[in-house]
């Protein structure tokens, strides 16, 4: 039996059109309303504390992957929940039979991290910071903090659960045009960092494990991708406004929950930049919308799918002329090669899901994660570029006894992983009849995502029997609330009132520069737009182009302004001085001026050579042009004038 007229590429384009997919740039609110875009956030932020949350190891010390003192190997087993049921993720993780290795560095790891000692009392510094951020987020602070165990069976935490506690519930944050409701804020321990995950071996390092982290969870109030980013930025800026959170790579990460109308909450995990959010949420919403379309088609063709199942046959490498390199490699590795028939699935495998991805990719992703077979782990009858020759595929269809409306997958991998692989293929196909699987997905910079894990349910929460509850007294909470920073939204409005250009705001909030600008404006009387632009443009440029001296901090910029004003020097000098100050923060301002070859020159000495320069220009000029003359003279005097008089003033004099 042969398939002659099916064109997977055309099918892909057609299903993409049917789903109404448009690139994000062309999408409007109407686009999102049409597919029922809905999104919520879980924003994680590390707190700036000396020690970790439940032990006395130092926080914020990281090591390279290959530097470690010891390795510990563990396995995670699902445990029955309080209600006598296994959690979905738990079963999946158990199916994967992963050996989990922890690389341990003595400096950052004690017996607590490797789960060989119960927790020490919770870090009070972290608790207080999380209460302050909760207050800023208008959350209702709990009367007593209860440490809860939240199960994670991927091994990212050696105990198999994360110790976490709710600090506040039901709050809100104001965005420019709406309010977003918050479900809760919790204080929790950070997880291990993954080094690698290949086959049945997953390696983690424990340096980050146990660092205090807060998680702010919003309701799914966001109705378009840009709003999700705006809300996320707001939550991050709010945390940063306290000055008590960690900054830098990995210190803030978010999980983004997305669904479309009729879809399922899917969690995109560990997005480390808010600027990636719009593309990711856009694509995820359309992925779900496309999968719903696929479901509709499958149900139309097979309304009763209860008896639907795959059929498979083992293939002998030598009976075919395979040239596809991964299959050749599989033969060398003595892997098994299995052909699988998917009844009635023609057109499903090449169905559009995300830009550059089709339904078959959903299966391949799961084979990697659940059956632990590294990619490429399969090929199929609807690949754009045939990876198995026409003749061979015809033969495979014959072996399988396939009907024309069927689709086929050829999968390879170690013999012991094949049963799980077959289960995984059947399971994912059956899910296509039901809708969108509950899952967490891993993000890529190009805005696409792949399957990561089955989304865990609320079944995975247990009280932590190792920790007593911690009462929070009214008195303590009000003391923590006494010196809270201004709200980010108020700061935003103040920036606007100050005429500071909007393109600087992200940078200013990210680095919590509002207090510095305010101090310079209010105490030194500097024009706000100048101060704001200086931080938002000049400082940002310098940060991007020079090496930061270890002792540099933003407070030095106030000192710089103050120095120039005291010396009655022009503030334009700040631009020149900043790079040196940034690289050598211990250098005094006088020395910076000296190394810039700056001399204090009275105004009359600067302007006095103008008549001479006019005469000189007349001798060397190519053309008779007053403007050009002015520019040339300014160029001659610029260096001398900088810092001694405003250049605008000099320009005026030259023009006269």
């Amino acid at each position: 039996m042969t398939q002659t007229d099916f064109d997977p590429a055309a099918n892909y384009e057609q299903t993409k059109r049917e789903a109404g997919y448009v690139p994000r740039k062309e999408a409007t609110q109407e686009t999102y309303d049409r597919i029922g875009f809905m999104s919520g956030l879980e924003v994680h932020q590390q707190l700036l504390t000396k020690e970790k949350l439940f032990c006395h190891c130092p926080g914020g010390i990281y090591n390279e992957d290959h530097i470690f003192d010891a390795e510990v190997i563990r396995h995670m087993r699902p445990t029955l929940s309080e209600l006598g049921e296994y959690d979905g993720t738990a079963l999946m993780e158990f199916k994967t039979r992963k050996n989990i290795i922890y690389r341990v560095k003595n400096e950052t790891t004690c017996t607590y991290e490797v789960d060989d000692t119960p927790p020490f009392p919770v870090n009070r510094e972290a608790l207080d910071i999380s209460i302050r951020i909760s207050l800023l987020s208008k959350l209702n602070i709990v009367g007593e903090v209860h440490i809860t165990r939240k199960q994670y069976l991927d091994g990212s935490i050696p105990t198999g659960f994360q110790r976490t506690a709710i600090i506040g519930v039901e709050g809100e944050i104001p965005l420019k045009h709406k309010k977003v409701r918050l479900i809760q804020l919790s204080l929790e321990e950070d997880s291990c960092r993954e080094i690698s995950d290949v086959g049945h071996w997953r390696i983690y390092k424990t340096d980050r494990l146990g660092m205090p982290l807060i998680e702010t969870v919003t309701y799914p109030d966001m109705v378009n991708p840009d709003e999700v980013k705006e809300a996320c930025d707001y939550i991050r800026f709010l945390a940063r406004s306290t000055g008590n959170v960690r900054t830098g790579i990995g210190s803030g990460r978010q999980d983004v929950n997305v669904s479309c109308r009729g879809g399922t909450r899917v969690e995109i995990k560990g997005v480390s930049h808010t600027r990636w959010i719009p593309e990711l949420t856009h694509n995820e919403c359309f992925r779900q919308w496309s999968l719903l379309l696929l479901r509709e088609k499958l149900l139309k063709a097979m309304p009763d799918f209860s008896g639907w199942k795959i059929h498979h046959e083992a293939l002998h490498f030598h009976s075919f002329k395979f040239t596809h390199p991964p299959i050749v490699q599989a033969k060398k590795a003595k892997d098994r090669l299995i052909a699988v028939n998917l009844p009635g699935f023609q057109g499903a495998l090449s169905h559009f899901t995300q830009p550059g991805k089709m339904f078959a990719d959903e299966i391949s992703d799961r084979l990697k994660v659940i059956a632990c077979i590294e990619k490429p782990n399969m090929t199929h009858s609807e690949a754009f570029e045939a990876e198995i020759s026409r003749q061979d595929f015809d033969k495979i269809r014959e072996i399988l006894g396939a009907a024309p409306e069927d689709a086929q997958i050829v999968v390879w991998g170690p013999a012991e992983d094949i049963p799980t692989a077959l289960e995984t293929i059947e399971e994912r196909c059956l899910m296509a009849f039901r809708g969108i699987p509950n899952e967490t997905r891993k993000s890529f910079i190009d805005g696409t995502t792949i399957f990561e894990r089955v989304l865990p349910g609320a079944d995975r929460m247990y009280p932590d029997t190792d920790s007593p509850p911690i009462p929070l007294e009214d008195q303590h909470i009000s003391r923590l609330g006494e010196d809270l920073p201004d709200e980010v939204i108020d700061r935003y409005h103040q920036f606007r009132k100050w005429d500071i250009p909007e393109d600087t705001y992200t940078y200013l909030f990210r680095n919590n520069l509002y207090p510095e600008i305010k101090r310079i404006v209010e105490e030194l009387g500097v024009k706000p737009s100048f101060a704001g632009t200086f931080f938002g443009h000049r400082l940002k440029f310098v940060e991007g182009h020079y090496t930061r001296g270890r002792e540099f901090h933003y407070g030095l910029i106030y000192d710089l302004f103050r120095f120039l004003l005291d010396r009655e020097l022009d503030l334009a000098l700040t631009r020149k001085m900043l790079p040196l100050l940034y690289e050598h923060p211990k250098m005094d301002f006088e020395s910076i001026l000296t190394s810039l070859k700056f001399k204090k020159i009275p105004k009359q000495d600067i302007v006095s050579p103008i008549p001479f320069l006019r005469t000189k220009y007349a001798q060397i000029r190519y053309r008779d042009d007053r403007e050009a003359e002015g520019r040339w003279i300014m160029g001659q005097l610029h260096t001398m004038a900088l810092g001694n008089m405003a250049l605008a003033e000099l320009g005026k004099i030259v023009k006269q």
Partner: protein, 461 residues
Amino acid sequence: MSEDFFQGYKGDALEILKKFSVRVWGQASINTTRGVFRGTILPRSENDDDQHIVMKIPTGYNVGIDIRTVTDMQETGYKKAVYKIPEKEFPYSPGRPNVKLIGTGGTIASRLDYRTGAVIPAFSPGELYGAVPELADICNLTTEKIFAVFSENMGPEQYKKLAVVIGQEIEKGADGIVIGHGTDTLHHTAAALTFMVQNAPVPIVLVGSQRSSDRPSSDAALNLMHACTAAGHGDIAEVMVCMFGPTSDEYGFLHRGTRVRKMHSSYRSTFRTLGDTPLATVTRKGVKPIKPLYNHRRKDRNVSILPYFEEKVAIIYYYPNMQPDMIDSLVENGYRGIVIAGTGLGHVNKPLYPAIVRAAEKGVHMYMTVQTLWGYVHMFVYDTGRDLMAKGIIPAENMLPEAAYIKLGWALGQTDDPQEVRRLMLTPVNDEITPREPYNGYLVYQGGVPEVEEFIRKFHK
């Protein structure tokens, strides 16, 4: 008795629940000066204060509400949770060894108690099997829970009953015995069973866990698999403790019941053989002996059960400036035997001498062991030691203090004759006293020396 609607609540918190007529397991909305909280009211741990109400919010987390902030409360629903874990009957496969698992309680068989918020012994071995189906690939397991107590509550009554039950199971034809036990006093029980169950033809394996089985990272499952392998397939027919070798999920150690001791309050690999090397390593593939000499498995059923114990025995941990009344008070209270854990080679200070003489005159049996745990009592080296022997204290060689305590109780349970007690004490049943100490026992299995650090760096700890 009517149902307890306010499990664990007392005092002010109980009053407020009653006032607003809100029950435990009720879904409630609580208005407070800090805002509104919604969720299910949970039982409160009895030892916690009476100023807070515990609630499970819809996201699954628990929070406490300060009752002084409560302005109003309403029950909007009620749904009681039932924490029942299904027991599964163990499948029988002909050809696999028959192993009896005896449950006593402890962490290997425990789950959460909402009353105290702590872990209670409650998993029946059958439930445990439900969670560790791999056991069926190792043996045919039958289970019996003979008591459910924390390890620290194990005592002579339990030792004697265990010995009798083990004797019965051996007679009935078990190929091996596994005893699930809390870890705190696992080594006391192991010593007791060594003395009470002698000449056993099959392995008797005590096993526990350091991380409770309600945790994904629990060592319970692997320990149980190792114990069943040792009991069903191993050739070593002795009373042994089976626990993690390293903290990694790699292999277990089998320790002789008389030479083993819990050495860390929380580590997985807390059990160490002292004064010797462990008997063997065990994985799911089988038992690999480290020591060449041991009692081999036999076909016969000739076991001696000697369930004796005199409870009036004490152990004294000597410290500088210990006063003689410490010993006098024991004697006055009718104690028949005292094991002293002395300093160094087996010493106590001079002010105790008169009390020791008084005890000896009353016929109290006194044995000296060492606090150092490693090494022998050597009472001839210094005058102090000779003085003490002259006053009636008998050196117990390299018997561990806990093993000596158990053995003295067992010996005095049979006789009060000093010569006979002395014979029983100093004739080893199974290496509680060894003629020699291997030089590498201390080095290899304790860690800490640079060479061992190097080893640890290269291999899984």
